[in-house]
Subunit: 435 residues, 2 copies
């Protein structure tokens, strides 16, 4: 039996089958939400004591004080010094590229601007970094050092005053690569706490853990629920769904390369989604054969099989144009244009977290070190949201300085509209400035 | 009795009193949330039929079809033609200035960019407009035509394909200024529906109302709860709290002007907050006297009195610098620097939705026609969020094109890090591109 189903857009039942494959819903779990609401309220009331209790209960880590759960900068540097030099070099090289890209982003879209109009009024926008942010890093099997870089470096480039990382350490086991990454990324403080209690501590502050202005980073269902709950009190990034890749191929890429790119998404977890679209039927067959052969060499074979069986597909399209249309319907997190002339197809693609162009651009290069962020909108949210970036760690203030001259012209307009809305004090405030 | 309390930062109990005044909490109302969840589920299931039922029940507007609740472009143009010419001129002048400012914003921070690094890799970000957005406009007393301009024009400038406005019309009463503003702002379609049912229709789509990608605009507690609920399914803007103004004055502005600026916030509603900070005690007394005198002329006197009694304050500070520090603690929605040299103080101010500089720059000029947006972060959320802008109606996609050369250097880094994370397919995908 083939590892992954093949479909054709020409099939009678294609649309229904495709909808079924795509379906994913962040089911709101009422039990989780109720439990999270309790934890949040408890941390808000009891502060450090509640954080200690939950950390002892859920992570089996006992401490006398939350201060004892902090990892010092010296410990972070020690972790960096202790890992193999190849890993250290790779972390530092990746961090450098990620930093360079985000510095370009700051220059391109993160600077203050202003202008004066003909009446001498100054108008503009002042861009400033957030004072303090919290970065949630999952513990256990999904503890990815690359995610530390991808969350902390944009914050650093934005000029955030203090970056506080929380990472649960179940049974007290610390991941040295994660700590090394925190050292490389310039994280200011690290606490070994997690779950809803960590989100609460960051959102409300405790005696030991300072309140932050925004919380980013992925987590389990409890963390996601807690982030959604504190949204408004603090800023949050998007709630992430399962990871997904869509490859549009014209048939010119070696089939093994495309097969492995599909695997690299499927190996994340059983709900991850890997889809290939191509107008070349023979190429789909070749990729399918590559997958059947290569999967046997994969240490995470079982996860890959489950993911592909549940949500994977190789889809024959009528044309490259139709493949682009389908991609726009999906708004994929990762989109590879594995084609000889990717620049030809890129303008047709309206929604995607990241677009990887050309056969050499495997998603994995982007995941680790090309420079752009790997925190991307999932589950179709690329229709309205963006990769994590420097802009997520900045905010803007409008700047308005109206001249005596300008107040005459603007005052008359404002007065008329304010009276129209029945807001007479608004009108009078404008009228008082008229000569 | 004085209209508004006076405090001094030198008072023993200042911090506690100030905290008490500042306190506001978006109390989660479980009854509202449960009701909203029902309405959302019903609209998701029954579509148009549910929308018609709720519109008949809550707004007392009966229609045979949702199509009958749509206001045509011809009707919008007729509304524009029918209003007094002074109002039409003011609307058009305001729209022109708002459009110009947001076009500058697009140029300053809303364009695609890319660069090639030394290995010939292309890196960048593609910025694209949202396909379709929904704008919620409240009905009844808080139906502000200026808000139609402030929501629709940035969407228009961003290049959004379709702007759909919903506005409830209780008892079938339409606000002609709101419809005229929709015509001026270039809204594409208008439906006379409101409440949680309108948010649901926009978020999920019905047979008649197309699904949108993002919903912006203010509303009552039901609308706010519905927006928070559908967040993730669609994008939303910030949930708004009560409006607030903070004035920092050096004593050089005519006291009547400052008094009226404080009123123009207080007249919104009883929870609105107006605060004046100044190191000049005589000036505070003069403003207080102005307020006591001027309030009697105000048509919305009762609301102003209630708002100032509950949440207003004139605060004596030790210095202008201390006033700026207090402002940073508040992160006000509207911040006036009513001083002879506002440029001196502006750099000290880190958090604010909008900064109005100099005596001539009344907040009301910004509310209507200076150009910047009047949808601003409230309740301290200026710590981490920004005015509504063109960027809210765009999203970004990372662009990565790795050259054959680049894949060699990047592949080795990615492979090392992927193995470190136990993601072997990621590593293999990079390694396959190595020569």
């Amino acid at each position: 039996m083939k590892l992954v189903r093949q479909l054709s857009t020409a099939d009678a039942g294609f649309d229904a089958e495709f909808e079924r494959l795509r379906f994913w819903s962040a089911a709101d779990d009422a039990a989780i939400e109720a439990r999270v609401a309790e934890i949040l309220a408890d941390v808000q009331q009891r502060g450090d004591a509640a954080v200690l209790d939950y950390t002892a209960r859920f992570d089996r880590v006992k401490a006398d004080s939350v201060g004892a759960l902090e990892i010092t900068q010296a410990d972070l540097q020690a972790a960096l010094a202790a890992i193999p030099s190849a890993q250290r070099d790779a972390l530092e090289a990746a961090a450098k590229r990620v930093r360079t890209y985000h510095e370009r982003q700051l220059q391109a879209c993160g600077l203050s601007w202003s202008y004066r109009d003909d009446d001498g009024n100054l108008l503009g926008q002042k861009v400033t970094p957030l004072d303090r942010v919290g970065i949630y890093v999952p513990g256990g099997k999904a503890a990815y050092p690359s995610s530390v870089l991808m969350n902390a470096i944009p914050a650093h480039v934005a000029g955030v005053g203090e970056i506080i990382m929380v990472v649960p350490t179940p049974d007290g086991v610390r991941n040295p690569l994660v700590l090394a990454a925190a050292a490389v990324a310039g994280v200011h403080r690290v606490f070994t706490i997690g779950g809803a209690q960590a989100v609460a501590a960051l959102a409300y502050g405790t005696a030991t853990i300072p309140r932050v202005d925004k919380i980013t980073g992925p987590g389990n269902a409890y963390v996601a629920s807690a982030k959604k709950h504190v949204f408004g009190q603090v800023g949050i990034d998007m709630i992430a769904g399962p990871s997904e890749i869509l490859v549009i191929a014209d048939g010119t890429t070696p089939p093994d390369w495309v097969a492995m790119d599909l695997f690299s998404q499927a190996e994340h977890d059983e709900l991850a989604q890997s889809i290939l679209l191509s107008p070349d039927a023979a190429f789909l067959d070749a990729v399918s054969a590559s997958m059947d052969r290569l999967v046997q060499e994969m240490p995470r074979e079982a996860v890959i099989r489950a993911s592909l069986a549940g949500r994977g597909a190789l889809i024959l399209t009528r044309s490259m144009e139709e493949a682009c249309e389908i991609s726009n319907r999906i708004a994929p997190e990762h989109l590879e244009i594995s084609a000889a002339d990717p620049q030809r197809w890129e303008p047709l693609l309206r929604h995607a977290g990241a677009i990887f162009m050309g056969a050499y651009t495997s998603e994995s290069l982007g995941d680790y070190c090309a420079g752009p962020n790997h925190v991307l909108p999932t589950a179709g949210t690329a229709r309205f949201s963006s990769p994590l970036g420097v802009y997520d760690f900045q905010k803007r203030s409008s700047l308005i300085e109206v001249s005596a001259e300008g107040a005459q012209a603007l005052g008359r307009i404002a007065s008329t509209l304010a009276h129209g809305e029945g807001l007479q004090a608004h009108a009078r405030a404008a009228e008082l400035r008229l000569r």
